[in-house]
Symmetry: C2
Subunit: 314 residues, 2 copies
């Protein structure tokens, strides 16, 4: 991992999007190029310069690879020039901001490149606890998909995972929604008395089957709809009448509304990690060059556990 971090102007490898993506993304939709950057901030800058260590591969990134139309909190990536952006773990090399100093470890929004100049510091967090692997800060301390069922288990729920692979994550039962041909039948088997709480990260046919199997006054937390991101037109969801029949409560969530309770979240989750009460599976791809393949693999379910790209260990 020769990152080229020497001297004033250094090589800076970057992953860029070649053009807007339609359908399933392919490795060839991206390109690894050699840019350059200066590692010292200009006088008066309030930004920071970081060395990126780990990058997070997240399903929502597919949405940003398309020309984003209609209402969205997400903006499109800029093909041809700017590197992808996403969550990552980084080390501060230079800082013009009082909250960050050289040597600090941070996690938050960064770019898919060796080093980044970050000027929007909202949503960057200093890493205070380093007794857990740094890579965890791309996932277990930020993403929700792998955690939510384990939290439910810890709270005494019966949990069935609808996952994109065979990994069970310690749930009571799990099935692969991509391979299950009769989702309604599967849910009826696993939940003969119906579903109280559904954490929605899949959408489409899965949501339709779930609606049929919810219990009265059941709750649906809507966090993502990964099955829809590669479709030009989303699948229509037909069973919304169940919202009335069963008086279902459905809420859309976005993590950035809850940044303010992040310290509280750490207080809960760090002890669970240290005590081994949360099982956390990572799939780490080594090197920025392996980034495009790692990211594309998310949509075929090739990864087992949280997909991370390692750029540098420190």
């Amino acid at each position: 991992m020769a990152s080229g971090v020497v001297g004033e102007e250094v090589r800076n490898k970057q992953v860029i999007l070649k053009d807007y993506v339609s359908g399933f993304p392919k490795e060839s939709d991206m390109q690894v190029i050699n840019g350059t950057m200066k590692l010292k901030l200009q006088e008066g800058s309030h930004g920071i310069v970081v060395k990126n260590l780990y990058l997070s591969c997240d399903p929502y990134m597919r949405i940003r690879m398309a020309r984003v139309e209609g209402p969205s909190v997400l903006t499109s990536y800029t093909p041809g020039s700017q590197p992808l952006t996403g969550f990552g773990v980084a080390k501060v090399l230079d800082s013009g901001h009082p909250n960050f100093k050289k040597g600090d470890l941070i996690w938050g929004t960064t770019s898919w490149e060796e080093c980044s100049h970050i000027t929007e510091l909202e949503g960057l967090f200093k890493i205070e606890h380093t007794d857990v692997p740094l890579s965890y800060y791309t996932g277990i301390l930020g993403a929700v998909g792998q955690l939510v069922g384990q939290f439910a288990k810890l709270m005494g729920c019966y949990v069935v995972g609808s996952v994109g692979s065979k990994e069970k994550f310690g749930f009571d039962e799990a099935f692969n929604y991509k391979e299950e041909t009769d989702l309604d039948g599967a849910l009826k088997r696993y939940f003969p008395e119906g579903i109280d709480i559904y954490f929605e990260n899949v959408g489409g046919k899965m949501l339709d089957a779930v609606l049929l199997n919810m219990r009265d006054h059941g709750r649906i937390a809507v966090c993502g709809m990964v099955s829809q991101y590669n479709l030009a037109q989303p699948e229509g969801v037909q069973n919304l009448m169940c919202l009335i029949y069963k008086r279902i409560h459905m809420d859309g969530f976005a993590f950035f509304d809850y940044y303010n309770v992040y310290p509280k979240f750490l207080d809960v989750v760090l002890p669970y990690i240290r005590e081994g009460k949360i099982k956390y599976v990572e799939d780490i791809a080594e090197g920025l060059d392996s980034g495009p393949a790692a990211l594309v693999g998310l949509y075929s379910g090739r990864n087992v556990g949280k997909q991370v790209v390692l750029i540098a260990r420190d």
Copy 2:
């Protein structure tokens, strides 16, 4: 209105369903037949016998005209024998139950016939206030569609009605969702800054257009989806990703969950009616024979205001 209520066994005109309905219901899907019934309760009965005065025509009744499959709080009507059931206003002729006595006026679930023997008394309410027209108890004091926008107006909201006719009900603006070819455009005109609260009674394309025009953290109360009731297969709703983008809160409601707060509801709504603060439009069809046409008219939007069938004035 010779109702035949004399002697022990009397003629009892009834509206029955000939067979399960598919597509738009037609008058000929129903039949008015002459049954008979006894007006005196048998010894030991805890039920009541009522003379039906007004019947309510409600969109959800279409669902019960089909063979109900899948999860539903609604059961199918029984073609060929039993009269339709629905909300109505009636007068007690005989009672075996301590809560009701001869001469009481009631509203609640009754049958589409001149006289009914009611054994399930849950969801029957004694009418205490007769300074408002009795027919109002089929609608303004029970149904929600016509009221909700007016309550919102009284609370200071800007209200746009998406209605099936040209009636505006005192809203700020209204449009006919059946005639509007560009629902998204219409909503953008009426709500340039987006929609905070949507009361859902239409479903399908209307819901899809609304989702695109909701504001962040907007709320959707789901009460009905009348545009879907005549379809063999519901339309797919495609814009559910907006639930996440906009962190929308969506709740299904059924009135019978709130029977316990009905007295409180009356305390609020009766003064509004007496003071003329609520505009209430009724479309009254005279005679049980006109029932099938009145009911069918709901789905073509022929009625203006609440559709009621008058069987007898007292």
